[in-house]
Symmetry: C2
Subunit: 379 residues, 2 copies
């Protein structure tokens, strides 16, 4: 019955809720703009697909000029390879032989190119143990911690030492260094954010010079984050950027001043299902749709779980799994039971991961439906 | 390749990570105990399946004596009906004709019994519009707000007024009243929690008396929450309890003192993939596995995202989507790259919703794998 109703629908107003909606015109503009910025800077664009996990969007990124994609997990790359994609950078430390075997199986698929990262001797050993027996060398980048404090070896000498170990390891080829300027999310002031991003990226570029001085050719100097992308891609010495969220530009990006709200491509449609007091109402979308995840680097303290578009004074202040708690300004706009609202989520990446499908629209018209093919591929 | 590795595995140590593990002995004990408590109290048990979303576990609950299941969304009931379950209580306000049509389609399946809730005239109108044309009356309960402040009409006269509207509506039958004592999650002191739960439940029972005085028979007086279950089911006048989390008893329940850690049936297995400073390490499980959702009612301020079992001094203090951030006590236990850790999540319901499958174990032995059939059914 659900499918029947949905097959009949051609306009947003006909959608059952909650639904996750992607505005195609907005998506196209976001993809084209980032591709243009990278092209103008002479830097390769390898977008992180964790934001959308969707082959259709990855293909749009490649058609606009991206040289390949970045994935967090092998499972995401496997799902996208099933959909015909071929060039993957797995930007997560793989430290077990089981994971190295899966990576080798993926690399053996016809036409598939793979690179990955390490930040430890243990990681190099696990990859080498498997790839020593493979026909082709595995491209390995050293992940460098340029200030985020998550994964990554310190810049400078420790990175050079790991690069030497890669070069010496059977089955592996040292392909470069990479970093993620996730700290850019904690800096709402654009000038401070750009300065910190630039400083982080320059640290990475300096390490590339250290490697060159040690006789190690650093083919790829790869950086990336959406808030820091514009500042990062003009730093001399950078060869590759890996922004992810720019396809959707969620409320976190709007809150950071990266773009205005009208550049946000992904919204959630939900229905007001309860309004039992004057100052409160409840939506049929909760944390299983809108996510409680506000990102680790900056918005954790935000006083809401998304922006209700066109309804000032209506605050989405809490989420149960299937309920969105609305606080209404008694002097402001009201809502009615049965009314549908559009919500701009704080963090669109987990929203796509939770969505059964992305409903693709132009204006109010539904033009396509895309399965989130790499949904839930956490291994 | 992933499947091949997994087919070979028969012990936890062989699992790829992250994996979500359910201890079968623990699950059986939790299910049996709650069924016994309800039976001894002479109260029907209708567990909420939002915790597990898994037909195998629902069948264990029914075999232990549950009279049916509670679902949040129609889609969950549809998935469980596909797996052969038949008796559903949809405990979420359905206020659109589209949802009422899906409910009617489900109710028409052979052997299926349905009841749902309303807290508004608009909800009654939408259900009546569809069910007036159906052969069987739809059982409708009034959802009463006994203190949570989410959905539900106030107790007393407003509930009686809605019950009268149901009785007058074509296609509907007034079947009783229900409430959810979600506020029990905000009361860590067991005595205070039991007292508040009892007070909420007694408010509902008093409303049942108001209904009887108004000539409206209140067949079902349904309450439920795991922390408040023991206190609720012994209140005279209660006919039904709907706890959900008791099958798994997550870290939230342990933190509230409902059970000790050894009663927790669901854990996450993750691998240490980075350890680039003495005081920090990173797991390959982040918010896409362990969830950032700490529950709306109480644990939002918790300083961690789950308990690392057997590793005191190791704190899971932040989650990125694919990274668990560990803070290590420099004077305490260390971790090694490649080591697997077991994590007791704060909120197991969203963890099951994110899991590709539940790996079922007895001790260290894998005995089964269950698909989370109603995963992501948010409509």
């Amino acid at each position: 019955m659900a499918l029947e109703v949905r097959a009949e629908s051609s306009r947003i107003v006909d959608l059952d809720t909650p639904s996750v909606i992607v505005d195609l015109g907005c998506l196209e503009r976001n993809i084209a703009e980032m591709a243009d910025l990278a092209r103008e800077a002479g830097v390769a664009l390898r977008p992180h697909i964790k934001t959308h996990k969707t082959p259709e969007i990855a293909r749009m990124q490649l058609a606009a000029g991206a040289i390949g994609v970045t994935c967090a997990k092998i499972g995401e790359a496997e799902a996208l390879a099933d959909a015909g994609l071929t060039d993957f950078f797995i930007a997560h430390p793989l430290v077990t032989v089981a994971k190295a075997r899966r990576l080798a199986a993926l690399a053996r698929r016809p036409g598939v190119e793979i690179a990955t990262i390490v930040d430890s001797t243990a990681g190099i050993a696990a990859l080498s143990q498997v790839f020593a027996g493979e026909g082709d060398l595995l491209d390995v980048l050293v992940k460098v911690d340029t200030g985020l404090g998550r994964v990554g070896t310190p810049p400078g000498a420790p990175t050079v030492a790991l690069a030497r170990q890669i070069t010496a390891a059977l089955g592996l080829r040292f392909a470069g260094i990479c970093a993620h300027e996730g700290f850019s999310y904690s800096l709402p002031d654009p000038a401070a954010r750009d300065a910190a991003t630039r400083a982080g990226v320059e640290t990475l570029v300096a390490t590339a010079r250290d490697l060159a001085a040690a006789g190690l050719r650093c083919e790829r100097v790869s950086v990336g984050s959406t808030p820091g992308a514009r500042a990062a891609l003009i730093v001399p010495g950078v060869t590759e950027v890996r922004p992810g969220n720019y396809v959707f530009y969620d409320a976190m990006q709007v809150g950071l001043g990266v773009v205005p709200t009208e550049r946000s491509a992904l919204t959630v449609l939900a229905t007001v299902v309860s309004h039992s007091a004057r100052d409160r109402a409840v939506l049929d979308a909760g944390s299983k749709t809108l996510t409680s995840d506000k990102g680790v680097h900056g918005m954790a303290g935000a006083a809401n779980f998304g922006t209700i578009l066109g309804k000032e004074g209506v605050v989405l202040h809490a989420l149960s799994e299937e309920h969105g708690w609305l606080r209404l300004d008694p002097t402001g706009s009201d809502v009615a039971i049965g009314e549908t609202l559009r919500i701009l989520p704080i963090h669109s990446c987990p929203v796509a991961n939770l969505a059964e499908e992305l409903v693709v629209v132009r204006g109010e018209q539904i033009v396509d439906r895309w399965a989130v093919a790499a949904q839930g591929r956490v291994r």
